[in-house]
Amino acid sequence: MSTPSAEPLSRFRVLTAVVEDHPGVLTRVAGMIRRRGFNIQGLSVGPTDERGRSRMTLTVDAGHAEVDQVQKQLDRLIEVIEVEDLTEASRLSRELALVKLAVTGPQRDRAVAEVDRFGGRVVDAGAEHVIVEVSGEFDRVERFLELLRPYGITDLARSGPVAMSTEVAVHER
């Protein structure tokens, strides 16, 4: 997985898919994406409000294929109920990042102050480290990490983005 912003934007598609919550659905989606020469940049999965349905948010590099192939190939999977390509749509997108910093003394104070100013949050602290979190659009998370890098990031966990169209017409089944 690499940083999408390094590539021409158009090849990257942001899609959400409502899928049946069956064993193996993730394998099907991931397998199809690999098989077709696409590449997953970001993926998150969670339950929807409806029993037996999950929502996947995918950021996919269409590779050498036409960009609409990603949605069409996802749609062919029997257990994929609905796919929306949000790339060109007005959408809301959030990603969560947990960052562990090995900081002590005055350096720690400076780091925590920066986190505060940015709107991040300290969620854990020990003698030798703090863990901070931030959520937001992809770019905001990137800027946050840029800010913290000088302090020495020892561990980083990112959720991958979840996304939703802001248009009213979007139907939920």
Binding site: V19, E20, P23, G24, T27, R28, G31, R35, A65, E66, D68, Q69, K72, Q73, D75, R76, L77, I78, E79, V80, I81, E82, R173
Partner: protein, 563 residues
Amino acid sequence: MTGAEIVLEALQREGVDVIFGYPGGANLPIYQQLPRYPKLRHVLVRHEQGAAHMADGYARACGRPGVVFATSGPGALNTITGLATAYMDSIPMVAITGQQNTTLVGRDAFQESDVIGCSMPVTKHNYMITRVDDIARVIHEAFHIATTGRPGPVLIDICKDVQQASCEPVWRDAIELPGYRPAFTPDLSRVREAADALSRAARPVILAGHGVILSGGQQELIALAERSVTPTGTTLLGVGAFPVRHPLSLHMTGFMGTGWNLKAVQNADLLMMVGMRVDDRVTAKLSEWAPNVETFIHVDIDPSEMGKNVRPHLEVVADAKTALREMLPHVQEPKPECRRPWLTQIDRWREEHPLKYTRSNGHLQPQDVMIEMYRRCDDDAIVVADVGQNQIWAALWWNYTRPGLFINSGGAGTMGFAFPASIGAKIARPEKAVWCVAGEGGFVMTAQELSVAVKHRLDIKIVLLNNFSLGMVRQFQDDFYGGVRSEVDLTEMPDFVKLADAYGLPGLCVERIEDMPAAFDFAERTRGPVLIDFRIDPDANVYPIVPLGKGLNDFTELPDEYA
């Protein structure tokens, strides 16, 4: 009922009459019950790959889904090539495999393998059943998925303890698959536009693929081609969709297509692609394909085919038969003078680039064998070809005056397909003559199924085009790989007459053209399987051919000095 009984009962309810299978540890409960279901005819194969190809050939010949049984582990894995073959060519099949007990799955138990994982990329869908209550529903869904929309194989992996468990099955007709929406309502919004464009074009061409045959749209295709006066060719899998001796026929397209077809495609201003994937074997070098086309029309049942390889100007997402039928009334018959220059030009190309083959070098030529075979087919027999030179010779010399059935593994290109597929075809259509055309290399890959043909006295005429080498690979090495003949020699092959004898069917060997008619006479007289080993010219090549990596304009033909 036990799970095993539910499986068999469900198959009966789906109208299954034949199962191609092989028993083993993990499907024993099903086989224990099988004798109690005499309406389900079981064909015991000699290798599970054979079962898959037989089911495939069965489905291609009659349109009903082919059914396969195999046990877990190696049994199931042996079907993979057959599933891939069916998947590439959109053939409806249902494979039911045994699996280890639910309690042992994931523990590397005996004959356990991840059949779901292995078959996922080569099936339209697959299921693993771990609860007996799911069997009835899943089998019904599997048949629905296999046969609707763009057809394809579905695999069902059933744990052995589930086959032995009991429940009262609930037989529902309704299907609840919220994510499965094949093109039930065809999108015909562009049909009128497509028909207008076709009528207006100066140099139109129709290319017809497998989708025309799968949808049974041959007559609709002929009607549309005739009304719009459009020269019409087929893909390799579309051979049979349009009569080759029709005045508008362009015969086969693609990198081993006929010269006049390729000339027409390269000069057309409109190309309508019906029920085809526009794959690399059709286009050769894509950037040089059909450079003069101003309007691409693509008709296919699968929306993902639109723009996958070629971005059409007009998309019709519908099955070929429906789309062609709906298009017909909108087609304005063009004035004769509008089409005459184009048709005249194509006639000229047909004369300038006829199919040619080497004659009178003393060897029996494969084309001679094909011409004689088709003469005897009388526009009626089913011809099943293997993969390689034999496949192209059988396709190019197919010469029916009306649509017919030409079966081959066009997408996957599976050697060893033809013979077991011809068994399936014969079982599906016992009233039809079935001819199997194969090279000796592909034939021995699945030759063990001869026992099946003998056991069931299947009237299959095996035409072996034997050049004692892997001919297509040899031709590629000669022409495109510096003439280095590497590992293509098949001199050490069985004596096929003795092989036939060992399996209990008559076999003949023909080395001279003079002996050919008598051998065919014998084959036609013989009831049950018969094998003819035609010893053909070892240097016979497929022409025309587009050099690998080149565009269709660069097709090469048999040099005149050999013709």
